[in-house]
């Protein structure tokens, strides 16, 4: 054995094996581990292992590289707060298990470590991600970064498109080899320093840390402690769970504010367009925590992406007796979630039903059963200045929609409203490069607008843009926050102008739409 292969103090620095179920078990194993963690006869315990094995198989994993004696910051802080004071001598070092979509052996890897550019490229190009294996009896899945199905080129059905919006480029250094992967941190709850609510927040904070300046991503134990700062229902550690209020406190502690939309407080869970509401935040890359009831227990998962179908997936998001406009949510067939009970990027399917418009479901292969997620609330960690929420915007859009419909300007079955939060710089980049904005480009680029805006697009189902409204996301709900509007069809614009210029229409609709909306529509159609 050479010095390259062996650390005299800590044993082998790495092991390389082909990807098989047995080798994955061996890599994740530790002396304290209860073996039911891998046993298919106990799906409630082996769920993570089975999900990860299946996920890595779908990603065409061929090789496992186990980096021994790895120091993981999140585990180390948890260890210092709790495990170090246990009688059982749990270790402070972890294993970082890397996955590759190409078969290679120790010789090839050693040659890469000796500087072979060709072999370094093979290692980099075929990287899928890693799992930190913690030396604990049960919750062994530590910080995990795995590529998405989009990176893994796993095909979709019906030309649907997956959007993993809450992922970012992660840099991983493996013995000096710099690798990159687009992912979002995941880990299993240990029910000691973190329950599922903490794990959901922990994943969400890694994303908000990247998109909102001045915030940070604390470790699980730090989240549990900050959540329990003012309200302690029982001892905070070992953690048995967090209330929604405690989750809001933890969000506040990282410099953000929580927007909570309660579904259980509504007369009917299908009263408002929930799928489009979630989408409106996910589209900008803001993670959404879905608080749902599963078989009578409250659970939280971090939504981080969605699957958009070409055609309508469900006919309506709300029940027939409630106000509605056609929104993008009807085309969303799945949400992707970091579910600490299952694994990273797991599919939550939107399934059409007879009595209700849809249900959110997850098929568990290990149990061979379907879990139904009954939404209780939605928790969105937002930058403090984002004060106008989806429903505030929806209120105005609905009025404009009904006005256009009343005068036969739109055919409801052929259009779709796309409402989403956006950063001003993203909008400006699109205005600068987008052919459609040619007429209004200079005016829009020079216009003074806030850092966060709501974009409201009216599109036809065959993919043409009719108009776009820009609204101020930093204003307040009692204000009128529409700031600008662009028409992409000149005849349509002329008709709207003629309509609003009609004396009878003004008399009949000025107070119905409100003077502010009426005047805004009139001025922007000139």
């Amino acid at each position: 054995m050479t010095d390259d292969e062996c650390n005299p103090e800590l044993g082998e620095a790495f092991n390389i094996n082909s990807f098989t179920e047995e080798n994955l078990k061996t890599s994740l194993n530790n002396p304290f581990l209860l073996q039911r963690k891998f046993d298919k006869r106990f799906p409630e315990y082996s769920q993570h292992f089975q999900y990860l094995y299946s996920y890595l198989s779908d990603m065409k994993c061929k090789t496992i590289l186990q980096e021994n004696n790895y120091i993981d910051r999140d585990y180390l802080v948890d260890f210092a707060h709790y495990y170090v004071r246990c009688f059982t001598p749990y270790g402070r070092l972890t294993k970082r298990i890397h996955f590759f979509s190409k078969e290679f052996d120790k010789q090839l890897f050693l040659s890469a470590l000796n500087g072979s550019k060709k072999n370094i490229n093979i290692i980099k190009k075929n990287y899928i991600g890693f799992i930190v294996a913690k030396p604990l009896p049960e919750a062994i899945i530590g910080r995990t970064l795995l590529g998405t199905y989009e990176n893994g080129c796993v095909p979709t059905t019906n030309n649907a498109k997956r959007f993993f919006t809450c992922v970012y480029k992660q840099k991983i250094n493996l013995f000096g080899i710099d690798m990159e992967i687009e992912s979002l941190e995941y880990q299993e709850q240990d029910a000691v320093t973190a329950a599922c609510a903490t794990s959901a927040l922990w994943s969400a904070f890694h994303q908000t840390d990247k998109i909102f300046k001045g915030t940070w991503a604390p470790t699980p134990v730090e989240i549990t402690e900050s959540a329990n700062k003012f309200w302690q229902l029982s001892r905070p550690i070992p953690s048995s769970g967090l209330t929604v209020m405690q989750m809001c406190q933890a969000i506040h502690e990282v410099g953000l504010e929580a927007y909570v939309h309660s579904i259980e407080d509504q007369k009917d869970p299908y009263m408002h367009p929930l799928i489009s509401l979630i989408y409106a935040y996910l589209k900008m890359g803001v993670p959404v925590i879905l608080h749902a009831e599963i078989n009578g227990d409250d659970h939280a998962v971090t939504l981080n992406g969605y699957c958009l179908e070409e055609k309508q997936h469900i006919p309506r998001e709300v029940k027939r007796n409630y106000p509605y406009i056609p929104l993008v949510g009807r085309r969303i067939s799945k949400f992707y979630a970091h579910d600490d009970q299952i694994g990273p990027f797991c599919k939550l399917e939107i399934v059409q039903k007879i009595l209700d418009p849809y249900k959110i479901e997850k098929y568990l292969h290990s149990y061979k059963k379907i879990l139904t997620y009954e939404p209780i609330s939605i928790i969105v960690p937002l930058y403090t200045k984002i004060r106008v929420v989806f429903l505030d915007v929806f209120r105005w859009v609905k009025k404009f929609h009904d006005f256009l419909k009343a005068f036969n300007r739109i055919i409801e079955t052929n259009i779709e409203w796309n409402i989403y939060l956006c950063e001003l710089n993203t909008f400006r980049n699109q205005v600068l490069s987008g052919r459609l904005y040619k007429q209004d480009r200079s005016r829009l680029l020079r216009k003074s607008l806030p850092h966060y805006i709501w974009r409201i697009e009216l599109n036809t189902l065959d993919g043409n843009k009719i108009l776009e409204i820009i609204a101020d996301a930093t204003d307040m709900k009692r204000s009128f926050f529409f700031k600008d509007m662009v028409y992409f069809n000149s005849q349509f614009k002329t008709d709207i102008h003629n309509l609003l210029n009609d004396r009878q229409v003004r008399t009949g609709y000025e107070h119905v739409l409100t003077e502010k909306l009426f005047n805004f529509l009139f001025e922007t159609s000139q």
């Binding site: 329950a195 599922c196 229902l233 048995s240 769970g241 967090l242 209330t243 929604v244 209020m245 989750m247 809001c248 909570v260 939309h261 309660s262 259980e264 407080d265 009263m271 408002h272 608080h291 599963i294 227990d297 409250d298 659970h299 939280a300 106000p323 009970q341 209780i376 609330s377 429903l391 505030d392 929806f394 209120r395 009025k399 009904d402 006005f403 009343a406 005068f407 036969n408 300007r409 739109i410 055919i411 052929n414 009216l458 036809t460 189902l461 065959d462 043409n464 009719i466 709900k477 069809n489 005849q491 003629n498 309509l499 009609d502 009878q504 229409v505 009949g508 609709y509 107070h511 119905v512």
Partner: protein, 58 residues
């Protein structure tokens, strides 16, 4: 552009006096609907203590 009002054959159907008549007739109905809708949205923006105090355990 099938979403906006078009004639058969795909040509855009401009605003007519019938469209205006039809729209004006609906003004009072929409006024009532919007008032009810505003109330529903205001209610939807509230969060009860019951929700805030639910414990997420699994």
């Amino acid at each position: 552009m099938l979403g906006i009002n078009v004639k058969k054959g795909g040509r855009y159907r401009p605003l007519s006096s019938n469209d205006i008549k039809s729209g004006l007739k609906q003004a009072s109905k929409l006024e009532i609907e919007f008032a009810e809708f505003d109330k529903q949205i205001d209610k939807a923006l509230e969060v009860s203590n019951k929700t805030l105090q639910r414990t997420i355990t699994i």
